[in-house]
Symmetry: C2
Subunit: 287 residues, 2 copies
């Protein structure tokens, strides 16, 4: 705990949650943990209000500076097992942002058209443009997760994709895209509870799929596939963060905080006027 | 006033704000009016919280039913003079919605590529898909507004566009798109105040353009162009609503309420489970 505090002071949540060099063994991570987090739910909600206000402010600056030609933007990638809360995180984190500057894409199983293209084709079409905050609910990582676990493509094909992804993300960084990748880590028991809760609420039946049960049987294979993705694709240009996600209040707070820390690193500024303010004011008052 | 109240009871804000058959003379509308609105700013803010909660609920149902094959969606079109608050309205109205189901597009002057296509080309690409709420900050109406006022195309070309737009919007309605078009009506003095306020705040300089002053000189021509658009393109399939917009609290409330009334007309419902809930529950508990 003392160690965690020190880390937080040094590099914020970014250094605390970043997947370490050499990879992770997911079973070693407590999915109910709240590293670096506020003391509890009430404190987290209170802090969220401040984080949201600051996020909105930085988002406006990011958007503003793009109108003066700054190419920078941010892409938040959310991955995690079913019910890990990807959709809920988007709702809570992006809710305070200006929707004009947010582009959310929820990737489903590839369509027939998408399947005829390289796996990054649909991803490239959904990238944020300068000044925008893009959010991916699932992403190109599905192509080394379900594609690997379900043998959707030959081993040699998904095996090559880790390198393809790293080069792709490096090229995004070269273009001024800050890539923030978050793995929402929930526990096996927690997933069962959440799936049962969906079945017990008719307003949530549409979120349930009979296939979800069969997927659970593949839990160990998915954990292994996630470990490989986190290990092989956590780079300095596009690091992976591991967010314990059994507690929704921590999950929402942590992702919002990671987003905020990365926006602060970008440090966007309102552009200076490229016109004579006093002259414009005088001209305006004559109209 | 008594008449307004009766109208509100009959058909809500929709009938109260709908542009009447035979068109409008914009100077006859008080831009500071608050027809059908709450008594004042405090009351409006309080009511907004309720409206937002209800909007979020209906949006979730709209999205849910699309997963079961229902094609319906909604498109909110915002038009208005500079500083009329199109961007601010998006921020306030859409802020409570789930960003995954919202697709906001702010149309600027057409790019070189867009200019090489028919004027509806870029519009079609930005349409909401089933279950989504699309928001246009400016739209295809610019092609009968600035294009007409600034002589960007021959008179015969913009003259034909009213019919083209009506057929286009009818085809959207045929496809299950509820089209809600809102004209944010501000006054000439109010615009000056807002432009001056931008100049007096360095954090807003990026929103100011020297051309904004020249555009003000064309105010009467723009009002005339708006009158023509409201008159010729307010159809039963895609009516225009006129929202007095000098008071921001009324503007935000009115647009949110119009959106809500249209979602209530759609009346989206959570789809029924297409699987055996009890059997799934039992199978799940064994995992």
């Amino acid at each position: 705990m003392a160690k965690d505090r020190r880390k937080k002071a040094d590099g914020g949540l970014r250094s605390l949650l970043r997947v370490p060099q050499g990879g992770v063994s997911l079973v070693d991570y407590d999915t109910r943990a709240t590293p670096g987090g506020p003391g509890g739910k009430a404190a987290a909600l209170a802090e969220m209000a401040q984080v949201r206000a600051r996020l909105a402010e930085l988002q406006e600056r990011l958007f503003a500076q793009s109108t003066a030609g700054d190419p920078r933007c941010l892409l938040l990638v959310l991955q995690g097992m079913d019910t890990s809360g990807k959709g809920g995180t988007v709702k809570h984190v992006a809710a305070g942002l200006n929707p004009t500057g947010v582009r959310v894409t929820a990737f489903k199983a590839p369509t027939a058209e998408e399947s005829q293209h390289p796996f990054l084709w649909r991803i490239r079409k959904a990238l944020p443009t300068p000044g925008e905050i893009g959010v991916f609910d699932r992403s190109h990582y599905e192509d080394v997760l379900i594609a690997r676990v379900r043998d959707l493509v030959p081993r040699a094909t998904w095996g090559r994709r880790y390198g393809v992804i790293n080069r792709f993300e490096q090229s995004l960084a070269d273009d001024g895209v800050t890539v923030v990748k978050v793995f929402l880590h929930i526990g096996y028991e927690q997933q069962r509870e959440r799936l049962v809760a969906r079945l017990d609420n008719p307003a949530k039946h549409w979120k349930f799929n009979e296939g979800d049960i069969a997927e659970r049987a593949l839990w160990p294979a998915y954990q292994q596939a996630y470990e490989a993705a986190l290990d092989r694709c956590s780079t300095d240009s596009a690091p992976w963060y591991l967010v314990p996600a059994d507690r929704k209040w921590y999950r929402n707070w942590a992702v919002a905080k990671l987003l905020l820390e990365h926006l602060e690193l970008i440090g966007p500024e309102f552009p200076k006027a490229d016109f004579d303010v006093a002259a414009s004011r005088a001209a305006l008052l004559k109209t």
